[in-house]
Symmetry: C2
Subunit: 414 residues, 2 copies
Amino acid sequence: MISLADLQRRIEAGELSPDAAIVQSLEAIETREKDVRAFVCRASSAKAQASGPLRGIAVGIKDIIDTADFPTEMGSQIYRGWQPRSDAPVVMMLKRAGATIIGKTTTTAFASRDPTPTLNPHNPGHSPGGSSSGSAAAVGAGMVPLALGTQTGGSVIRPAAYCGVAAIKPSFRMLPTVGVKCYSWALDTVGLFGARAEDLARGLLAMTGRTEFSDIVAVRSPRIGVVRQDFAGPVEPAAEQGLQAAIKAAERAGASVETVDVPEAVREAWRIHPIIQDFEAHRALAWEFSERHDEIAPMLRASLDATVGLTPKEYDEARRIGRRGRRELGEVFEGVDVLLTYSAPGTAPAKELATTGDPRYNRLWTLMGNPCVNVPVLKVGGLPIGVQVIARFGNDPGALAVARFLEEALAKSN
Amino acid sequence: MISLADLQRRIEAGELSPDAAIVQSLEAIETREKDVRAFVCRASSAKAQASGPLRGIAVGIKDIIDTADFPTEMGSQIYRGWQPRSDAPVVMMLKRAGATIIGKTTTTAFASRDPTPTLNPHNPGHSPGGSSSGSAAAVGAGMVPLALGTQTGGSVIRPAAYCGVAAIKPSFRMLPTVGVKCYSWALDTVGLFGARAEDLARGLLAMTGRTEFSDIVAVRSPRIGVVRQDFAGPVEPAAEQGLQAAIKAAERAGASVETVDVPEAVREAWRIHPIIQDFEAHRALAWEFSERHDEIAPMLRASLDATVGLTPKEYDEARRIGRRGRRELGEVFEGVDVLLTYSAPGTAPAKELATTGDPRYNRLWTLMGNPCVNVPVLKVGGLPIGVQVIARFGNDPGALAVARFLEEALAKSN
């Protein structure tokens, strides 16, 4: 993989020109794209900007995010060739920081579940996950150092885990979702993919100008609460193996690790996530559903057809449960710095299963709005397993600092 | 004005065909539009739908709201001729309920402050207010029974007051802002204009399917707390005259009216509203600001130029103050059913002043997220004055029920 931090240091030191860094990505795309198919469209030639902390950084943008210089097709034939007038704010944040938008990455239709043509960079017989399939795969295949995705259920953390890359789903609303095709306005969150936690921190620093992302180093002796989310159903042995390896490495490196339970209200919040998601999707995609129903991708169409009867009353009750869950989850963080859990139920599913995997270990945290970081831990059968570090709402730097601790702990234990 | 409720009753009773109701709007537009200039574009012929509670209801849509059948120009030359692919969810809610979208109404550029060509239907020498200028004027001139606007500071309630129409800014996020050009994602709120509170309730019932909007009648003996918002600066005598007339009519009709103070935290929230608004506008309009700066309308451009230095730290602090204000405002509603205040500092400003008026009595309530309803009270110098009824967050039916009480009380006292 290409590390954003490494590129920045080499460019800063004059060892690498910004243009040469972009060429490195273009060449990597030339080599790897035919086997990975991460891009919907891309710049055949691209120049670096002369200044800005992200000069020389080639970025892939999930194709539900508006770009003025590339079509934005939402993974759907309904938007084939669709050209927005303007760049979404998150794209402008990157461009103003000096980044070069290198292309648009594949997305499942409207960031839902229908698989894209993208293949897992670790094994083309497997899914890269979704819905941010192309962004995770493009970083995992070493084509770009940074890519943007979005998560409504588990669409950033899960594909990151399957593709063996670091990713952050920041605190809800830290990055604007303006100009991002909406599925659920209470849940949609823009996230970043990179090689390591440090790369994510540098990306967020450059995009937001938030100085709390400067110089994030591994925290010492973090207090880690392990949450197995039994309410979300069983995991495959590979996921449990990854979690245990992370726990063991963390303990060896000086962390205190304890198993914690989440209150009933938080379990309830996990349960009602789909009600909020599906009720809002019916409004957000009302035009497509009413006017272009037959052109909606089949899995999404079936899901919308099945949830057409959700009522405002059920939605209001779900939102109340979500708010209660958020309050009670806050108390869980009084005893620990972060929570640690599975990023996905196992390794990436085989491509012929025609699934991008299950977001069941992610969706609670999307609804709660907490920052989540995927840390790659090990490989099972040649496919990556990651764990998810979750910090208190608004403590994105804390999530990244523990993710860095864990990366270093795992590097030492290997 | 055309009353939505009256049309519904006559259509239901078979006294009026839906098509005839649409023709009534088309003819009114033909007659009045040249003097009011409320529309950016409109259907020259339009048919009613055969079914749905809003069959026969012609609706005007503010031109920052995406429509698949009309261009959406945002009041800006940057979007001249811009044709979205899809209808915004709020437009689909209307269409699914049977409404006929009759045209797009004028908006100040990006719903900010630069005046549109629209004239006040009560006196063409005066502003209709803004930013939802065309929607307020189209309803006020009797051209349509229903129109959509949006409010970030005071862009629904203020023009409603100036044009002598009823309007509701619902609780934050009751109506989705998906497909609405964003200025501030924490503030932007879609609102409705109609002849009276009953019309607004019927519009919301049809759009949302929320049964709590069924059969809203005037509440008996409401407890009304008068808030003069001295922290927002002085009012003109005409506005105070309107407020006192509303108070007197309410008391005669059996309301208990007391003056209430808002806590310091709420006053602070009023103060920091512009920080949240302007910080987010710089992100929401980042592409326009960076790439098309010279084409941004001059008042908005000056405002953006002046606020370019706002920092994430100032923004985070403002959001904290906003949250504290919201908590403490909740306590104010323990003693009263609604708050009553000015809808605007006075009557509509003269057109030559090149201003849409001041949102200083509106912006606090937009930030707090509470439902607000404008009730026309009287005219001073031929120009309307309204008052603003504000209910607890989520109690939109309560705001409408007190607005209806006030309308009936004012009708009796005249």
